[in-house]
Symmetry: C2
């Protein structure tokens, strides 16, 4: 009897966990989030939504990486402190854990290293790490949560960024129709979408856009066959390595949820997926797609939209008399 | 048998619904939200969170009435389009359904009439009703939701504002400790808090702050005994009635969740509850509270914090090629 139950349980496990993934494909499914420290994730979520991490008291991570808008803001250039335009298009935070490094030029090695940047960027949140820590530790409910999440008292910038990164680790989008197809559900994609996928593989897009993120795992030149024309001053990876060969190399963006993360490219100049696909074909592969081919690739790309994270809006603990005042108009 | 079940059921109903409310008190408990058209509320929630209702594509109702911050932004003056300061402190949307009219001067008769205002206010969302409608109806998923919510095709400003108002109707905060005490739970308040409540009644605060909202149901002069000194140009109710007797009359703010809606007064000049209570005592009642009395009143006011609405962040449907582009820097 016991054995039979065990057998049934194992059977169930096999059905759930060992799905027939198409191992030969250059794209792999997105794994769901594993939460090991829920208190840390919950704290990170609060900090992610807290505008008091900015000098003005009005800009949070969620202002530019809006989780109602697939982790971005759908603007060509984001709006930072005092309405300054951010100089480069804002990538999504969804699945950003899969990136080989963070930022278009990869200058931050991981999410924790990245999270300290925007707070002190004068065109973004315009604060200082000292001010961020002073704000957070002036709020007793935060201090208590830090203790619960880290096991000891103390608020510092290391812990603030670790908590935010832990939250971002959970922002994954599994169960796209494409992933269902990868996992063996033949009815998940239409004929057109499959033809688009075949074109995506056969014409060479997968050389750069592959892996679970469909990108995010290498730096590549923007404009391989033909140069990319833009007035945006960003020079890409060379800013990090100093190596002239890296000039105009950018981290290949992941194409997960790309239907939702318009406009496209580091300068945000491509308003539609059709335009982005056309440009990629010409500049990266020297190939001009017919309208029909372009439409098929776009149809395929739209199958990469996964389940968006379900976020219950956090209730932020109130400031106290010790909390430094926001300076929106200072 | 059937009768007995009925009796038990009735018994249960009585326990749940007919609670021993202290009828003689000048403050009544907040009733939980009743949702009659969930599709309309869900649509309204999306619109409330949608920054595309602004010209810039970056400002939503939630930017200033942040539901992570008790429906306000905790700034003296909010930040509107192009970082313009809003000229008057932003009230919370929580329980705003209980207001006799909306805005500090009551110029909108209800939530629906109010909701059309900020979209077209040049220092707030800086859009036009035409543009808002064009944006919304260019998005097929919205069009479908409008049909589901209203029973027929069509997007117009009347429906947009009706949906937002329906969502706002659900933003109530029942179950504060004070309400539990009103409903008969004697252990819900401490001795200090009860003494604060006694002072609040005996010294005359309840003359203006009463009813379920603890305010929100009349316009009163700011500075009854002594004039209020401020550099803020707002003149209050006179702007609506043209009657000089209404000069410097403001809608009495509700004190529900007042612990969370700092800073205080129409000019946002009182940073703490202690300051606001002190000013009210002197200017409205000609009374100077001792430090201890002030602390007791503040302790009472903090018992008015209720359950904050649990909001699952909506996922907004993507724009299309027909959607007018946001103009953040135009
Ligand atoms: C004012 C807009 C703005 C704010 C606020 C902002 N970001 Fe960003 N974020 C950007 C832009 C722009 C980039 C790209 C910058 C670059 O690559 O040089 C970026 C990049 C990132 C990346 C890298 C993604 C990738 O694919 O490389 C992550 C992760 C991220 N931000 C998280 C955050 C967090 C966490 C916060 C809050 C602490 C935050 N951002 C606040 C605009 C913003
Ligand atoms: C040689 C490498 C390479 C190849 C091949 C390539 N891409 Fe890209 N792709 C990139 C890089 C690098 C970027 C970022 C360019 C930038 O923003 O300046 C990019 C950006 C994109 C974007 C915009 C993503 C965003 O969020 O901004 C799309 C869509 C895209 N590629 C699709 C394709 C398709 C479809 C193909 C095949 C037709 C393709 N790519 C081929 C490297 C490549
Ligand atoms: C840029 C800031 C800003 C934005 C955006 C904004 N509001 Fe407001 N809201 C205010 C301010 C300031 C007031 C008070 C104005 C007055 O009384 O003259 C106010 C008043 C209100 C009130 C009246 C509350 C009361 O107690 O009288 C409601 C309800 C409200 N807003 C809802 C909304 C909705 C719905 C939206 C989006 C469609 C919105 N607001 C967008 C700043 C903003
Ligand atoms: C004569 C009417 C009146 C009396 C009496 C009165 N208030 Fe007020 N109260 C108001 C008005 C009107 C305002 C708004 C004033 C403004 O913003 O300019 C207000 C504002 C407040 C605020 C700030 C709320 C906010 O969100 O900005 C608090 C707190 C407050 N009152 C508490 C009290 C207390 C405590 C007492 C008794 C000591 C009291 N009030 C007596 C009319 C009154
Ligand atoms: Ca983009
Ligand atoms: Ca009314
Ligand atoms: Ca206030
Ligand atoms: Mg307004």
């Amino acid at each position: 009897m016991k054995r039979r139950i065990l057998a049934i349980m194992l059977g169930a496990c096999v059905t759930v966990f060992v799905r027939p993934v198409r191992a030969e494909e250059p794209i792999q499914p997105i794994a769901p989030a594993k939460v090991t420290n829920p208190a840390l994730v919950e704290l990170g979520k609060k900090l992610y939504f807290d505008p008091r991490l900015s000098k003005s008291g009005a800009i949070s991570c969620n202002s530019c990486h809006n989780l109602s808008l697939a982790g971005t803001d759908n603007l060509k250039m984001s709006i930072g402190d005092h309405w300054q335009p951010d100089p480069i298009n804002t990538p999504t935070v969804l699945n950003s854990r899969l990136n080989l490094a963070q930022f278009w030029d990869g200058r931050a090695k991981d999410l924790k290293a990245q999270a300290g940047g925007p707070m002190v960027n004068p065109v973004e949140m315009a604060s200082t790490h000292e001010l961020v820590v002073n704000v957070v530790q002036s709020i007793p409910a935060y201090a208590t949560e830090f203790k619960g999440a880290f096991g000891s008292d103390g608020v510092d910038i290391d812990r603030v960024t670790a908590a935010i990164a832990a939250f971002e680790e959970t922002l994954v989008t599994p169960n796209s129709r494409f992933d269902k197809w990868l996992e063996g559900d033949k009815s998940a994609l239409t004929k057109t979408e499959l033809e688009g996928y075949a074109l995506f593989k056969d014409s060479g897009c997968v050389a750069c856009h592959n892996g679970p993120g469909v990108g995010g795992n290498s730096f590549q030149k923007m404009g391989v066959v033909e140069p990319y024309k833009t007035s945006n001053p960003a020079q890409g990876r060379v800013a990090v390595t100093g190596d002239d060969a890296d000039r105009f190399n950018f981290k290949v963006p992941m194409l997960r949820n790309v239907e939702l993360t318009y406009p496209y490219f580091h300068d945000g100049e491509a308003a539609t997926l059709e335009q982005a696909v056309e440009t990629m074909g010409k500049l990266q592969l020297g190939r001009t797609f017919t309208e029909e081919e372009n439409a098929k690739i776009v149809a395929f790309l739209k199958t990469l939209t996964g389940d968006q994270p379900q976020i219950v809006l956090p209730h932020l603990p109130p400031s106290t008399k010790k909390t430094p005042q926001p300076q929106p108009f200072g």
